[in-house]
């Protein structure tokens, strides 16, 4: 699991690589911390290389989504692989988080 965050003004580009599972979920949450308190942030998370996410990972996405909404920002997940998208669909998270 690897998280790369690059910033360009208020635009944040995040690239996720690997698997968010039992062993990496806590680290993923830690990696996302800096993004939680940004005002008017425009966050794009590239999920092209995200292979898997557990329910704990989903919880982090959910928390991030809620924080972004509170801070009037935007969160978009892009290039999501089918099996990951399915998890978001099943749990109904695709209804809450914008996935393109």
């Amino acid at each position: 699991m690897k998280t790369t965050i690059s910033q360009n003004g208020k635009k944040y580009n995040v690239v996720l690589t690997g698997r968010i599972d039992t062993t990496t979920a806590a680290q993923f949450e830690q990696d996302m911390k800096p993004l939680m308190d940004i005002e008017n942030g425009d966050i794009t998370i590239d999920c092209a290389d995200l292979e898997y996410t557990s329910s704990q990972g989903l919880r982090t996405f959910l928390t991030l989504q809620k924080k972004v909404m509170t801070h009037n920002g935007q969160l978009v997940l892009t290039n999501m692989q089918a099996q990951v998208k399915e998890v978001f669909d099943i749990t109904g998270f695709s209804n809450i988080i914008k996935i393109v």
Partner: protein, 629 residues
């Protein structure tokens, strides 16, 4: 103890060795130079003694000669008065204490009818002077050296030592002065005798060293006096010491009238020698043994004192080092004790402000740290044991929350299993049958472990409570959602699938809140996923509606509900069990299989897929079979 001893001994021995070498070197250097210096001083001092004595003897001899010479003209004036001649010899003896006898020996027939005529005076035993006429047939003085030699050479003469039987009755030497008439013819010999006793005493008193050997040698090699009194002997190098050529050399030099020093043998002795006034020569031979006796004694004292000193030094070093290193021994014992687990091992008391104190401080620090660390470890271990024990109890409680009495009657057959990945987990299932209606639920709390277990118990309690109120499924889930959303700071959410089956009609009302789709195994053996309208998981947003759905079930069909622990069960290569394999399993269920067998077979199939890989998520399966009547 052994180490300390040998350490002290070794160090002490080294110090002793180095000190000894220094001592010995110093003694040798000092001894060498002292030796040289003393040898030089000895020769100087012996020469001085010889010189002083030579002057002394010369004076005496000179006095004797002067006395005799001064009487010459008196004799010549009184040749007509033979009585007075006795007076003259008496005067000579009386005037000079060294002179023990004196005579005026006349040639035959100097006085008519007197073949022998020699008035003679000498000291007797009582130191009074006796007078007599010396010459007669028994005492034919014409043949004696003291008369014969000066008579022939017409020169004054000192005789060789001789025992004067007719005259002084002592060992003596005689100074002879020839008296001549106007024509130069010798008519008498005027003499003075010197007792060799006096010379012997004089010579014997020359003792620069205890075993110094002094002697006089006259012109033709006669040994006049030395340390063997009353003996005159001809000096003979061969009889003196055959191996010592130096004696011969000494004799030759002395006879030649030289003065100087001569080394005898291989540093055995040295001789100083010098001539006397009358052509005699005297020598002092001093053995080096005596010369260096004091030095030897001093060296011996130094060696003894040094040895005692060295021994004391060794003893002091040994004691001091052992005392200084004693704490090391005690530290060793303490370290061994500490290694055995006794962290209170007594450390030696250190009073010095040195490296030993630093060692003590390090040891003390180590001891305290270890004690602290072990205490912490013990308390942590205890804490861990307590937590483990509590988690085991929690596991029992959690497992007893889900029903384990599974109904299996003519209408339906229900079975389920819950296998948490850790002690406690976030999966759960439940069912209850009220008036021919089966309520059932399966859920999965995000995350695992204790946090998940807490949320799970709330959810399950809410379901139990709401299930008995006769609410529709969607309303029931909305209420559960409301409960979970309250103060949900950590954004824990639950995916769950809840439904109710009316046993009379076979109608299944259900609502899927973000959970995996269930599988329906139809009576004909065909199986399919029931893709319900997706709802958001419970606990995400408060107050949102959940869409209920309905489907008509036929008799003989089965429902298989599961959590993602089944489909996402992974083998060692992180390959997932997957929905397809689960569907394949569902399609191959035997018709008459009981719900319990179904669950058991599914678990076996999952296990045969993951093999020895660790279970990473809670696994829950719930299956309901509607029996054919």
């Amino acid at each position: 103890m052994r180490i300390s001893k040998s350490f002290s001994a070794r160090l002490s021995a080294t110090i002793l060795l180095v000190t000894s070498i220094l001592f010995i070197t110093a003694i040798m250097v000092v001894s060498y130079y002292s030796h040289k210096l003393i040898a030089e001083e000895a020769i100087k001092s012996a020469s001085n003694v010889l010189y002083t004595t030579t002057i002394d003897i010369n004076k005496t001899l000179d006095r004797v000669e002067s006395t005799v010479n001064n009487m010459q003209w008196i004799v010549e004036e009184h040749l007509d008065d033979t009585t007075y001649l006795y007076h003259i010899t008496t005067e000579i003896v009386a005037s000079n204490e060294e002179i023990v006898g004196s005579t005026i020996a006349f040639i035959p027939e100097f006085f008519k009818g007197k073949h022998y005529f020699s008035p003679y005076s000498c000291n007797d035993e009582n130191d009074s002077i006796i007078v007599k006429q010396l010459g007669n047939d028994k005492y034919n003085y014409f043949e004696m050296e003291w008369f014969d030699v000066p008579f022939k050479t017409k020169e004054p003469h000192w005789s060789n030592p001789y025992f004067d039987e007719g005259g002084g009755q002592v060992m003596m030497t005689t100074y002879s002065l020839p008296l001549t008439d106007k024509q130069g013819n010798i008519f008498a010999i005027l003499t003075a005798d010197i007792s060799l006793e006096w010379l012997t005493q004089k010579i014997s008193s020359l003792h620069p060293y205890e075993n110094s050997f002094t002697f006089l040698l006259c012109k033709d090699g006669y040994y006049i006096t030395g340390d063997q009194p009353n003996k005159t002997m001809k000096y003979d190098a061969e009889t003196q010491n055959k191996t010592h050529n130096e004696y011969e050399q000494l004799g030759k030099r002395m006879i030649a009238g030289d003065s100087g020093t001569l080394q005898i043998g291989d540093y055995n002795a040295f001789a100083v020698y010098g001539p006397l006034y009358n052509g005699w020569s005297t020598a002092i031979i001093s053995p080096y043994k005596d010369v260096f006796a004091r030095l030897m004694r001093m060296n011996l004292i130094i060696i003894v004192v040094s040895s005692i000193g060295l021994f004391l030094l060794f003893f002091a070093c040994f004691r001091t080092i052992r005392k200084l290193t004693q704490p090391i021994t005690e530290f060793t014992v303490a370290a061994l004790n500490m290694a055995k687990g006794n962290f209170q091992a007594r450390l030696p008391q250190i009073h010095s402000q040195d490296e030993m104190l630093q060692l003590y401080n390090s040891f003390d620090y180590m001891q305290k740290s270890l004690t602290h660390y072990v205490q912490e470890l013990r308390s942590t271990t205890k804490e861990n044991e307590r937590m483990e024990s509590e988690l085991n109890i929690a596991r029992q409680i959690q497992l007893s929350m889900v029903p384990t009495n599974f109904p299996n009657n003519e209408k339906y057959d229900i079975h389920a299993t819950l296998q948490p990945a850790r002690e406690v987990g976030g999966d759960f299932y439940d069912f209850l049958v009220v008036n021919d209606v089966i309520f059932f639920v399966i859920g999965d709390v995000s995350g695992k472990g204790v946090p998940a277990a807490l949320v799970m118990s709330i959810t399950r309690a809410a379901f139990r409570f709401l299930g008995g109120l006769g609410l529709s499924i969607d309303k029931m889930i909305e209420k559960i959602n409301g409960t979970l959303c309250t103060r949900n700071e950590t954004n824990m959410f639950v995916t769950l699938f809840a439904g109710k089956i009316d046993l009379k009609t076979g109608l299944l009302s259900y609502c899927n809140a973000g959970h995996n789709p269930l599988i329906i195994c139809h009576a004909d053996g065909n199986a399919e996923y029931l893709h319900a309208k997706p709802n958001i998981a419970v606990g995400v947003f408060d107050g949102i509606p959940f869409n209920p759905e309905q489907i008509q079930l036929e008799k003989g069909c089965r429902l298989i509900l599961y959590t993602d622990g089944v489909t996402e069960a992974e083998d060692r290569d992180k390959k997932q069990y997957g929905e397809q394999r689960l569907l394949d399993f569902a399609q191959n269920i035997e018709k008459n299989e009981s719900a319990e067998e179904l669950v058991s077979n599914l678990m076996t199939d999952v296990k045969s897929f993951t093999k020895d890989a660790e279970q990473n998520d809670d696994i829950t399966v719930l299956t309901i079979t509607l029996k054919q009547e």
